[in-house]
């Protein structure tokens, strides 16, 4: 199994840490993983994205032109990455702030309104976990147990009390994700 993912959005949306949790989860189930972020000062207030690859085999290129899955969290990223999903691949997006919705017919498109949901739950910090949940619903590349282990690894100990909230968010994401025709 090899899953090649791009996650893209605003700097503050937790894009990088979502990728990191995914990568950690992969490690927890003995997979090879790679995580490559956009970096540098242009991230300041701008966009952020990260390429995550999970695989049973040694990973070749950590950067890619096309992806199995694109998780898209703002309009700029939609403009940039809709075309980068492999035919037959998956595109997940949060509808908040999206003006031009994805239109490709050769891929599966899902929507997870995580921003709205997070606002509803009064905790914007779990936004990215809701998205992650949605993704895992569609592609259970890692087991929830391993995600929780990964989360634990990637969070400093002093934040471990947040783990239950995060787990809930993931579950909620799995519930609210919907496939767009």
């Amino acid at each position: 199994m090899t899953e090649e993912i791009i996650i893209a959005g605003f700097g503050g949306q937790g894009v990088l840490s979502m990728g990191k949790i995914l990568a950690y989860s992969g490690i927890m189930q003995d997979q090879e993983v790679s995580w490559f972020p956009s970096y540098g000062p242009e991230m300041r207030g701008g966009t952020a994205n990260v390429t995550v690859i999970l695989s049973d085999n040694r990973i070749s290129s950590p950067i890619l032109r096309v992806y199995d899955t694109a998780i898209i969290l703002n309009q700029q990223s939609m403009d940039k990455f809709e075309e980068a999903v492999k035919p037959g691949g998956l595109l997940i997006y949060d509808g908040n702030g999206i003006s031009n919705h994805p239109s490709r017919k050769d891929i599966k498109i899902c929507r997870v309104d995580a921003a709205a949901e997070a606002a509803k739950l009064g905790n914007t910090k779990i936004f990215n976990m809701i998205v992650l949940g949605g993704y895992l619903k569609e592609k259970p590349v890692v087991k929830l147990d391993n995600v929780m282990l990964g989360l634990k690894k990637s969070l400093p100990e002093r934040y471990h009390d947040l783990l239950p909230a995060n787990e809930k968010a993931i579950l909620r994401g799995q519930e609210i994700i919907q496939t767009i025709e």
Partner: protein
């Protein structure tokens, strides 16, 4: 039990240095490698192993702090990125001339000048041919994974001390910034009882003074020193070549690429083989000494070579020298922080080598 972590390349080389028993790190922040010092500061290696970490006032100061500490026999490291490495050239030449072991890490970014902070491999010439003045060489290790970033810290110290010479870990923003799974080796003790036959640790009655210098105003002695250096470099060239091949057994074409480009080429091979193109990879791990003989042998079995490097074409010169211009060899690369995609690389092979005359 193996200790496994998800780490950035920059963090891995820092942790690698701690575990290899490094005594000191001196450095100055610059993107995309500031995590090296940040990681070290966070890890408090002074408490873990007694390792010293100091933020210097500049790269010029860093390299000269390295010189001082290395001159006392200590295992020392610095890291920077292209403009900062350029500032170190005088000091690097001094360290090579004074035969001081150390690890330098260059997390290359796009140039020239201030350029960009995105990954690049355009400092190949600087590292392999001599960015500083005079006849000297750096042993240059080019990791292609985060694991190797970790491993090469240890290997780097080993080589640096074996030959008393600076070792460059030549990498780029891609390897430095990406995270991968790393298997950590065990902490090695810092070496406090070491060979002080040459190190300046204070003259004791039982030995003559030790002096660390690169100066000899007497030209004939200076020439002898240079001959000694050249002999040493020959020994390194004879013994320390490292490289790796992928899918090269049945290959009709060869990518030659190091570091992040080698990773991209591996994906291009997957794509190429899926299309029926028999292409393999020759990956120099030591950029100097360059695997001359080994590449020549590998080249003898194929029809053409595409050297892939994120530059305008630097390593291609060594490819040509290695193959004695006996085989079609072209350069493909992107510049200014652009990273080529596997698709582009494959296309370049098809156009420049397979399709080319």
């Amino acid at each position: 039990m193996k200790e496994i972590r998800l780490m950035k390349g920059n963090e891995a080389v820092a942790e690698g240095a701690i575990r290899a028993g490094a005594d000191a790190y001196f450095g100055y922040p610059i993107t995309p490698q500031s995590e090296v010092m940040e990681y070290l500061m966070l890890e408090k290696p002074h408490e873990r192993t007694g390792m010293v970490v100091l933020q210097a006032e500049s790269e010029v100061a860093s390299i000269n702090m390295l010189y001082g500490a290395a001159g006392t026999g200590k295992r020392v490291m610095t890291s920077s990125s292209s403009p900062g490495i350029s500032l170190m050239q005088e000091g690097i030449s001094y360290m090579a001339g004074a035969e001081l072991p150390c690890i330098l890490v260059n997390v290359v970014r796009g140039g020239p000048g201030l350029g960009t902070i995105q990954p690049s491999q355009a400092d190949y010439f600087q590292t392999t041919k001599g960015g500083g003045h005079g006849d000297y060489r750096l042993i240059a290790l080019a990791p292609a994974s985060v694991q190797e970033m970790f491993d090469f810290a240890g290997l780097g110290f080993e080589l640096a001390f074996k030959y008393r010479t600076p070792v460059m870990i030549q990498t780029d923003g891609l390897i430095g910034q990406m995270m991968e799974k790393v298997e950590l080796s065990e902490q090695q003790a810092r070496i406090t009882e070491f060979d002080q036959s040459w190190a300046t640790t204070g003259k004791t009655p039982d030995r003559a003074q030790n002096v660390i210098t690169s100066l000899d105003l007497d030209s004939s002695r200076q020439e002898q020193h240079n001959i000694h250096l050249q002999k040493k470099y020959q020994e390194v060239a004879d013994n320390e070549v490292r490289y790796e091949t992928f899918d090269s057994d049945d290959a009709e074409y060869l990518f030659v690429a190091y570091g992040s480009s080698a990773r991209i080429c591996q994906k291009a091979i997957e794509l190429g083989r899926a299309k029926g193109i028999k292409v393999g990879l020759f990956r120099p791990i030591t950029l100097w000494p360059y695997p001359m003989k080994e590449l020549k042998a590998a080249a003898a079995k194929v029809k053409g070579i595409l050297a892939v490097e994120q530059s305008a074409g630097q390593m291609i010169e060594d490819v040509k020298l290695a193959t004695e211009c006996n085989i079609k060899a072209e350069h493909f690369g992107r510049m200014g922080g652009m990273i080529p995609t596997p698709e582009e690389v494959l296309l370049a092979l098809e156009n420049k080598i397979i399709g080319g005359k």
